[in-house]
């Protein structure tokens, strides 16, 4: 039973345009959400997070939006750069335990 789902296995975007990665969850007990980025042959690195009491968090080119009623979060990258090409995982936390989605492969074309 997948409690955190990333339904798009891959996304291709032109450099300079917006990338939107989506994530859906089913567990209402999740109270904190995070995005991680993973390059090949490296471990995931933390990107941005949001508490369930907020609906938006911004950090430079990265913005995470949370819609609690829809149990949906999204990561916006503006503008997208070729170096953003990686696998992106969303994760949700309940009592300190993280549950990850399947990941979305983002490719940003020059």
């Amino acid at each position: 039973d997948q409690q955190v789902k990333q339904n798009s296995p891959s996304l291709s975007v032109q450099e300079g345009r917006i990338s939107i990665l989506n994530c859906d969850y089913t567990n209402s007990m999740f109270d904190y959400f995070l995005w991680y980025k993973k390059y090949p042959a490296e471990g995931p690195t933390f990107l941005i997070s949001i508490s369930s009491i907020k609906d938006k968090n911004e950090d430079g080119r990265f913005t995470v939006f949370l819609n609690k009623s829809a149990k949906h979060l999204s990561l916006h990258i503006v503008p997208s750069q070729p170096g953003d090409s990686a696998v992106y995982f969303c994760a949700a936390s309940s009592y300190g335990k993280l549950t990850f989605g399947q990941g979305t492969i983002l490719t940003v074309h020059p």
Partner: protein, 115 residues
């Protein structure tokens, strides 16, 4: 910067072998985790530990055990390796209390192939 070191980058083992995956962190973090990453399944939690000699099962503990004798070291053990344990194994650490949603720091991973 937090450094999480996994002892092997690539590992090839035979079915039935006992396999040890080692993870060492240098930031005095209380919490340590073992995940496996498989295509289409994301990262799944195998075991975690919130203190020395303490361990808790994650979502997929079957076929695995762990050991944490020192705070900085967390070992994952495959008692009798099977082909369905071929995967990328990722160790992670974080600070904070157990329910604190602090971010995880990951090692580079060990790609294990069981033949």
């Amino acid at each position: 910067d937090v450094k999480v070191t996994q002892s092997s980058r690539y590992l090839v083992k035979r079915t039935g072998e006992k396999v040890f995956l080692e993870c060492v962190q240098d930031m005095d973090h209380e919490n340590m985790f073992w995940y496996r990453q498989d295509p289409g399944l994301g990262l799944r939690l195998i075991y975690f530990s919130y203190d020395v000699k303490m361990k808790e099962k994650g979502d997929i503990p079957e076929g695995y055990s762990v050991s944490r004798e020192k705070k900085e070291r967390f070992s994952l053990i495959l008692e009798s390796a099977s082909t369905n344990q071929t995967s990328m194994y990722l160790c992670a650490t974080r600070t904070g209390g157990w329910v604190t949603p602090e971010k995880l720091f990951f090692g580079s991973g060990t790609q294990l192939s069981v033949l």
